[in-house]
Amino acid sequence: MVSAPDTRVVEAFGLTKVYGSGNTEVRALRGIDLSLSRGEVIALLGPSGAGKSTLLTIIGLVNPPTSGRIMMAGRTVVEDGQFAVDVRSFRRQHMGFVFQKANLIPFLTARENVQVAMEINGHSPRLAKRRATELLDYLGVANRADYYPSTLSGGEQQRVAVARALANQPSLILADEPTAALDSVRGRQVMELFRKVAHERQAGVIVVTHDHRALDVFDRALEMEDGLILANPAATAPITAAEVDLRNTSGPSNQDRSKPS
């Protein structure tokens, strides 16, 4: 008998994060459980201060949680405030990041911005350059490969940032309000881009967003408030009602995925 392959990209159990102490203590996360599968795109919604970005940085191994456990790639990577892996090595091999600002390195061209991510992961410059060109082509900005970030539009910069996030074929992409600086059309294009790469490259994607107009793109939307994920987020309702072609052709429904596995 052959067991089914584990499709989970990340699993988090009881994550808490406390800043400060005594009178200044802030409980940013109050016990978060979360599971994300390959090819799945989820949105983290909620008001400012809800803990969305904190959760993202903890899952991204940028900051440790105060308590709780995270499993990735089949092993525990952080437990009770202690990292169990070399976080930088783990990040460059398994994760990609996209932010509100593209955060491209200004003294590198678009292609070099993608290339550098691969080179610091040990790829040869030649291979990295070839793959960077392919990625930029995949994201529709190959014609801007030799331009510096300052000469690119906001949408082009975000596409390059997505290409960079994909450079090392990560299993997890974390995006923090990636469309906040874009107009609605370009914002939707970027969101659909996440959907596309998640399905075509089998990566799990978590997107922190305030943009409710593109919620139909996500498999799930998780509403956060006061450091907790709400049990029955109202935000998921419009998604299940939406009949989006892309979703119909790219995997199980949101309701199916929302069920505990």
């Binding site: 783990f90 990040r91 460059r92 990041f97 955060n103 003294f107 590198l108 070099e112 550098v116 923090d176």
Partner: protein
């Protein structure tokens, strides 16, 4: 991918300007070393060039450079008679300042013991040695006197027959070479009135003592030229230069001459030491101190520049860390830029120095040894200067990208 070079490529103008600034600073450091070398070289130039084994000077003086030395001209004859002495020359040197075609010429007049010494040891770049007993001169090129130029010194007119390069006295003044007799004539030149007054004074003194009163010829002699009075010797010289016979013991010769009650003897090395430790020591220490301060200032400025360059990239460094870049990637970025700045700055310093140093009024002598030493110093301060930037970069957290 070399991130340091990519950053330089993108900010080329700013980087070049920074490198020029550092280069000019390093040029000053290089120049300080060159001025010191020039000072010592000028000071010891004559001692090295005349190549005497022994210097015989006035008793208990450190002459003729460190202080005034006067010994009778006939001391040369005595020295020549000492066993082991191959040859001797009188040494006369004094500095004069004259107006020439509207500009001030300051020069050190060096007497040559013509005809034994016609200036064969001088580095002639044009013209010839001194071929006649009087009224010919060899001048250093820096004085700007062309070959054939005629110049009045004292009561006589001298013609420039040869040109040297980089012949300067211990005080840095350009040198001219004439025969010993001409040198003394220039040094002891007096106006006609002064000569007449001196003769009258001698006649008056002679008439006041018995031999003068009873011997009219004495009064006549006293009223005549100094050279006609046996009691008045020829003008003194500054030193006697001694060349030892090959195979003779210089210490023994020196000890024989030093036993005389009216002279002291120095070897060429001792004379060099007197010059360096005595005449140029304070200048040397002052230059060394100033040079040290310049190096410290250069290091601080480089550190601040590199720190500023790092601060400009601090967000990018945080991005690199978020992407998982090892610390070595970041350290290389800063260190390579520091070394690049140092190397280019050093190159600019060297090239700019080739243009600027010849304009300096005193000689700036850049030697290979100093260039290597400065290269080592630049390497050291580049690494030290980068530490501040590296320290700042190491403190940056990946989370700052998100913040």
């Amino acid at each position: 991918m070399n991130l340091a070079l990519k950053d330089v490529r993108h900010n080329f103008g700013r980087f070049v300007l920074t490198a020029i600034g550092i280069g000019l600073l390093l040029m000053l450091v290089m120049g300080m070393g060159g001025i010191y070398r020039g000072l010592v070289d000028d000071a010891t130039l004559l001692v090295n060039r005349v190549d005497a084994d022994l210097w015989v000077v006035q008793k208990n003086t450190r002459g003729p450079f460190a202080e005034i030395s006067r010994i009778p001209a006939n001391a040369e004859d005595r020295v020549r008679a000492v066993p082991g002495v191959a040859s001797t020359n009188d040494f006369v040197s004094h500095t004069i300042q004259r107006e020439q075609a509207g500009r001030t010429l300051r020069m050190t007049v060096q007497g040559l013991s013509w005809p034994q010494d016609k200036g064969a040891w001088l580095p002639l770049i044009a013209g010839r040695q001194i071929e006649q007993a009087h009224f010919e001169m060899i001048a250093d090129k820096s004085l700007g006197l062309p070959l054939g130029h005629r110049m009045v010194l004292g009561k006589d007119t001298y013609t420039v027959v040869g040109l040297t390069r980089n012949m300067a006295s211990t005080s840095g003044d350009s040198m001219v070479f004439v025969t010993l007799a001409d040198s003394q004539a220039i040094q002891y030149d007096q106006s006609g009135e002064a000569v007449r007054l001196e003769r009258e004074a001698r006649k008056s003194r002679a008439s006041d003592f018995d031999p003068g009163r009873v011997q009219p010829e004495i009064l006549n002699r006293a009223a005549g030229p100094s050279s006609g009075i046996p009691a008045l010797g020829p003008p003194p010289v500054s030193a006697v230069l001694v060349k030892i016979t090959p195979g003779a013991d210089p210490l023994r010769v020196a000890s024989t001459i030093a036993s005389w009650p009216d002279v002291s003897v120095y070897s060429a090395d001792a004379q060099r030491q007197l010059l360096v430790s005595g005449m140029v020591d304070k200048s040397r220490r002052q230059l060394a101190l100033f040079r040290g301060l310049l190096i410290i200032v250069s290091a601080i400025i480089m550190a601040l520049i590199l720190y500023t360059l790092t601060l400009d990239k601090i967000h990018d460094i945080a991005v690199l860390k978020l992407m998982g870049a090892r610390n070595l990637v970041v350290i290389n970025l800063i260190l390579q830029q520091a070394l690049l700045l140092g190397t280019i700055g050093y190159g600019i310093a060297y090239i700019a120095g080739q243009w600027v140093f010849p304009i300096f009024p005193r000689r700036v002598l850049i030697v290979q040894e100093d260039l290597w030493m400065l290269a080592g110093i630049v390497l050291g301060i580049s690494i030290l200067a980068s530490l501040l930037g590296i320290w700042r970069a190491m403190r940056v957290q990946a989370s700052e990208v998100i913040a």
